[in-house]
Amino acid sequence: GAEGQTAENAAGTEAVSEEPGVNAETDEAGNAGGQWLSVIPGYGNEAGEYAKGPNGEEAVPTTDISLTEEQYAQIREKGLKAAMIWAGASEWYNAMTDGAKAEFEKMGIEIVATSDAQFDPSKQATDIETSMALKPDIILSLPVDPVSGTRAFSPAVDAGVKIVFADNGVDGYKAGEQYVSIVTGDQYGMGRAAAKLMAEAVGGKGRIGIIYYDVDYLVTNNRDNEFVRTIVNDYPDIEIVAMSGFSAENATGEVASAMMTQNPDLNGIYVSWDVAAEPVVSELRAGGYKDCKVVTMDLGGNNDLDMAQGGNVYGKVADMPFQIGETMAKLAALSILGEDAPAYVVSETVSMTRDNMVEAWNQSLNKDPDSSVLEILGK
Amino acid sequence: MVDEKGYALLLKDIHKSFFQNEVLKGITFGIRKGEVLGLLGSNGAGKSTLMKIVAGVYRLDQGHIYMDGREVSIKNAADASACGIAMVYQEFSLIPTMTVGENLFLNREKKKAGLIDDKKCRAMAKKAFEEFGIDVDPDEYVENLSIGNQQLVEIVKALMHKPSVLVLDEPTASLTHKEIQLLFAFVERLKKQGIAIIFISHHMQEIIQICDRAVVLRNGMVEMDQSTSGLSVGAMVEAMIGKKLNQKYLQPGSPVNYEKPVLRVEHVSWSDKVKDISFEVYPGEIVGIAGLLGSGRTELAKCIYGLIKPDEGKVFLDSGEVPTGKPWMSIAKGISFVPENRRKSGIVGIHSIQYNMLMPIWKRMTKRFLIDEKKCAEDAEAMREKLQLKCTGIEQEVQYLSGGNQQKAVFAKSLLIQPKMLLLDDPTVGIDVEAKAAIARLIRSIADENNGVLLISSEMEELERLCDRVLILSKGEIKKELCRNKGDEITEAVLAEAIQTA
């Protein structure tokens, strides 16, 4: 959860600055890779089977959330309005929007505003205030910043709007009071799944590098941290030899090539997400590092093509944004009908390799991969 | 050595260099209360530099400045004005985006309770303009004023704060006869109030007319320091350039051929500045245009050249029509233009002499679409030779040339077009006598190659020396034509009279 993170992270500051991702040998104390555990922002979060909600709520799978036909009919009668206030924009957000839209259509709910804060917390606060003029009954949102979110969402909370969050909660808010629930991908599960894919990719043994998001962003940090933890704890034969951060997703190519310059024999690289992995893949391709496999998160056309072509990309892990969107809509509806809505809902995780691309796309984004990918796959 | 006492301002052994360029090499002279001192010297002699030292813009390298017998140290412009020194600079030095009133009080605003008292400033500005008899609205923005009025505002600004020493650096360069007389009237009045005035000009007549004493600078030293009574123009010029100069009318090389005009202007009108103007210029002829400030001379030339598209009218060159409003077409057909403001519209200061010269004709300098560097260098060098342009080489940046040589570079640019018709708008503003004479000979020689020349000038002397015919312009109309061949006399006096009565 987001809580308590601040203090722990503050304590970890020195650890980070001491050894910022330098080329390192294995720890002599036998604690293999120990120094890598505290590099990524927000590393202090505890992992669980599923993560728990911000107030310790148990996670419920998305598949448990559904409405009866009767409930759909009831909702339709109410003629409600909804707003979607996202943090950013990408294929992932598109799928989430599409999922919510599909459900809202069934419920006869009108979508009155859609916005994207471009990761600016104050823009999100503004978007919330502005959309309140449209008097929505439901707000679906992905909060940019849990800290300022407390204040930012207060106009909607005060007006009694049913709020469903994706991914993050907001500090000081309680499910069932200020908001309905949080729907999220299984961040830790995704980290573990990625570690598993990496192990497959390198045949259980080898030297890998990590290119992580060097920005305080909970969801990504959780996934990255869990990946590192899993590799260090569960795969003793896989050695992490380099970690470098990035803050602009277009600027990872330089990071990758610097890493390869110093470690030309890397067997694999983990990158925080798909878009950030694109320049990495291109650098590997250009540098002739055919045997260095890339594992990353989220689906996206360019890297998936590389995977289909048997290139550097070995596997990807994704959550199910379409399903998350649908579930958020359903939870909002349930709450309006006065039903109990679980506080913390977690979507399934999809691991994709070249073998299950079409299925994975359909599960996660509810559509087929790009036509060029299908062509290569011969479908 | 001069005694420190009795001088409102005394300069003693002033030295100043810019990098390796030693401009002033020990200047000493003084000026008394109520005296008007003319400061002369060719372009680049260091007149402005010396005065800017006095005004606190530059710091002297060595030397002393005394005011009323006491040595003063002037480190910046604020120090100078605290000492009672005011200066009207040679270059435009108002804030164009501010009103006249705001400019007058810049950095010395009247305040009430710590804040600027606009009302009081405005009232004082109004009063000042009334006092000087100038019709300028203090609330008007400076950028909307004509150049002449801008100059008058600068003068009033310098006088606003009752200086004890006033420096006027070429104040008459952008004024016409009438305004110059107005200015001279101020000078007389200030003189009576005991203000010491230093007056810089390239016009010898003006110096003789209003100055009590003349100081001539040459090679960084004082070449002459003498009372003007009994001083002749010739003597001053000799002190300036070290030799005598012939100032007579330059005859055409061969008689003008009045059969077929090189330029024909037909019924050109633009806005209310140019009204239905028609005239011709013949090969070998220099036609002058005289008129008051604002009479539309510049606009007429711009209409012909294409910088302004006239509302009506046609322009023909050698009987072929020149499309209006397109300077590049004019250039292609053979019209070139030397503008009145060299710095603003004539040169690209940061470019080399060669680049400036060839600016309009790069397209002609190509071989297979690429610029033929060798030919460029040859042509530019030839032109430099022809005009006797003084420089370290054609690669030197134009901004480092003296004014006269910059003007030669602009001429070179116009000549390389190989014009049939040359339009000149006050081509010798701010240029010293020697360069002026050189440029006059140059203009004559261009005309003598069977080209037409149209010469706009505020200097009657120049028109007298050069023109075979003069058109008198007033309020956008040709009011009178004087032609030597028809027996009209073209002299300074006649021209001045014609302009005033037009």
Partner: protein, 312 residues
């Protein structure tokens, strides 16, 4: 010669009225004109408005500041951190001092090293952004001081947001400094004709230094207001604001090359941009459509107010 009506001076007011009227009609059912929504707009634009007041000084002096966004973040973080150990007044002071230091550093390089402000602040924006990230190692800092949060952001006095009141205060202070003091005149003089300003005894370097410093200070105050509004600070605050701030100043009628401008125009310019953002969102446009519409409208507004005379 009859004087033409100089509509350019009033373009920002005309734009204001046009945008207001058009949205009032288009969005008559969507609460655009409601008191709450109008107050939203004023609250949301407060930070841009405040930073734009300082930017007006910089642009009027012929300079520009591209580091505004990063300074906003630094000052917000410094204030938030200071609030952990002290009361609101020293904390605000600390935030302002941070902004002052950043602005002063910009100004020092601009004035003393004499390189264009665009390039100086292009460089410092990267430096300051790096500092903002480092201060708290990317952590957000929540603010629990209720008085601070009330006074500098989240509060209302009667029906009026304190953020709007601050906008008014800064506008009035800015206006007085800009229009009524020798410093303001000197700024305009430096922007209008630097050489002439120097000849008039104005200390050009000093004026540039202070214009940049003021710009840093208003950016810092904007950061403090952000912190108050969001009850917390984060290194990303202000990241996307730089261009809005510059646009507000220019739409407000300040000449981009310096020498001319108004503070009130700047505030109206900022509100016009705020109304646009608000109205386009209420119209239900997608983010991409909003971006396109905003860009086009800004070009249009600038075209009307800044179209230059051809010089010949």
């Amino acid at each position: 010669m009859a004087k033409k009506f100089d509509y350019k001076k009033y373009i920002v007011y005309i734009s204001f009225v046009i945008v207001l009227v058009v949205f009032s009609i288009l969005l008559r059912d969507k609460g655009f004109l409601s008191y709450g929504n109008m107050m939203n707009i004023l609250r949301q634009t407060a930070m841009i408005s405040v930073a734009a007041v300082g930017m007006t000084f910089a642009i009027s002096a012929g300079l520009i500041d591209l580091s505004t966004g990063a300074v906003v973040a630094i000052s917000a973080l410094v204030t938030a951190l200071a609030l952990r150990v002290t009361g609101w007044f020293p904390a605000v002071l600390a935030g302002m001092l941070a902004g002052l230091a950043c602005g002063f550093f910009n100004g020092l390089i601009v004035a003393k090293v004499r390189i264009p402000a665009f390039l100086v602040t292009l460089g410092t924006s990267s430096v300051y952004a790096g500092i903002a990230r480092t201060i708290t190692n990317l952590e957000a800092v929540p603010i629990t001081n209720a008085r601070f949060n009330f006074v500098f952001g989240a509060g209302d006095i009667g029906p009026i947001s304190t953020l709007f009141l601050w906008t008014i205060v800064i506008m009035i202070l800015g206006h007085i400094l800009y229009r009524k003091t020798p410093f303001g005149r000197a700024v305009l003089a430096v922007g209008g004709n630097e050489v002439a300003a120097r000849y008039s005894g104005i200390k050009v370097e000093k004026i540039k230094l202070w214009a940049m410093t003021i710009c840093g200070m208003t950016a810092a105050f904007a950061g403090i207001l952000y912190a108050g509004r969001l009850n917390g600070a984060r290194y990303t605050l202000g990241e996307n604001d730089n261009m809005s701030v510059i646009a507000a100043v220019v739409i407000g009628g300040t000449s981009f090359s310096g020498g001319k401008g108004t503070i009130v125009g700047t505030i109206i310019g900022s509100i016009v941009i705020g109304m646009l953002n608000n109205g386009l969102l209420l119209m239900g446009l997608s983010v991409s459509e909003q971006m396109m519409a905003r860009g086009l409208i800004i070009i249009l507004a600038v075209s009307l107010s800044l179209r230059e005379k051809i010089e010949n």
